[in-house]
């Protein structure tokens, strides 16, 4: 067992004018996840603590938050991985805080919708499935891994500065379809992203790539989209 101090960002819109921090001292296993610690606080210390969680296995992307100053999934972060006895948990930056760790994800999803994150192909359906070579599938494999947790977009200084920037997550999801050989709307998506609030707001800062809990090479995906816009070539 290990003694730790858990410092949690607290904000209740009904009673607080300003946010504050609550501190909890507890004994935990080094292999406990940050999400376990928060569940412990919610279950035994303060039931009003609010945070999003669902699968608790790094798949749903609900529990992304700022842990010791860096965006991570609370369910994938072990106490021993943080290498310290002091753990601070705060909500993600750049989105409105509704309560404690819960942020308003609406702007994030509006940007996601704006890049047409769905398969477009108006050609008549083939008799069987639409075939694709292994190489063609490999081309966008990395960006299929996105779980929409928002860790990348809310770690991006360009997004902090301007909410209208489409953000890394939306570009990753556009990349997933732009480079899909079966999809026919790449040109349309590239046009959407060739905007003053599109891909060129990316300043190659790499916070998104570091923050991604699925290890997606986000800056690389954005770079490929930038290049496709500049050259008009998807190769």
């Amino acid at each position: 067992m290990k003694k730790i101090t858990l410092k949690l960002f607290r904000y209740n819109p009904e009673t607080d004018k300003k946010p504050h921090y609550d501190t909890f001292k507890m004994e935990v296993e080094p292999t406990d996840r940050v999400l376990d610690l928060m569940e412990k606080v919610k279950g035994y210390e303060d039931g009003t603590l609010s945070f999003r969680r669902s699968c608790a296995h790094g798949v749903c992307g609900s529990c992304s938050m700022r842990i010791n100053g860096e965006n991570m999934l609370a369910c994938k972060t072990l106490v021993q991985d943080l290498g310290t006895n002091k753990i601070t948990v705060e909500p993600m930056l750049g989105l409105t805080v509704l309560k404690d760790m819960i942020v308003d994800m609406k702007p994030f999803f509006i940007h996601y919708e704006s890049v047409m994150p769905f398969f477009v192909n108006d050609e008549p359906d083939p008799a069987q499935e639409r075939l694709q070579s292994i190489e063609d599938r490999e081309r966008f494999d990395d960006t299929t891994k996105c779980i929409m947790c928002g860790a990348c977009t809310t770690s991006c200084p360009s997004f902090w500065a301007n909410e209208e920037y489409v953000g890394p997550a939306a570009i990753v999801n556009a990349h997933r379809f732009i480079f899909d050989s079966r999809d026919k709307a790449a040109a349309e998506r590239l046009q959407i992203l060739n905007d003053q609030f599109g891909v060129y707001r990316c300043r190659t800062i790499f916070n998104c790539t570091v923050a991604c809990p699925r290890d997606i090479q986000i800056t690389k995906a954005i770079g490929e989209v930038k290049k496709a816009i500049a050259t008009g070539n998807l190769d």
Binding site: T96, V97, S155, I205, F206, T209, T219, G223, E224, K226
Partner: protein
């Protein structure tokens, strides 16, 4: 009521983005500093040439100070090398996968160039 989304400069700087984030911040600051260097240099030249002004001479004295020269060379060379890294990564997105190595390579390029500056400036300042 909900809390405003605004991220203050202090909160932003506290985010642990690591080396690449600091390289970006330094790039911005050194770019801004260069505007002042060039602007100051032009103003100093203008004041000295046109009016033989004491202010122009004072600015030039600061410019020629070896400590100022070291700071100036640091910021200019950093800005150039970091800019080159970003340009190369932008032109060849496949290399973006090796961004950590690119940061190391950037410092490996910067150190000998700045080392040369250190030798030349310090030799002149302390030896002369």
């Amino acid at each position: 009521m909900a809390l405003n989304r605004k991220v203050s400069l202090f909160t932003g700087l506290k985010y642990k983005g690591g080396g690449p984030m600091w390289a970006w911040i330094m790039h911005r600051l050194s770019g801004l500093a260069m505007v002042f260097f060039v602007g100051g240099h032009i103003i100093a030249g203008f004041l000295t040439q046109q009016f033989g002004s004491e202010v122009g001479i004072a600015i030039n004295t600061i410019y020629e100070n070896w400590i100022f020269q070291l700071a100036l060379f640091f910021l200019v060379i950093f800005h150039a090398v970091n800019g080159l890294r970003v340009v190369i990564l932008d032109l060849w997105p496949a290399l973006l996968e090796y961004q950590r190595e690119a940061i190391w390579l950037q410092w490996l390029t910067f150190i000998p160039i700045y080392g040369l500056v250190l030798v030349v400036v310090l030799k002149d300042a302390l030896g002369g």
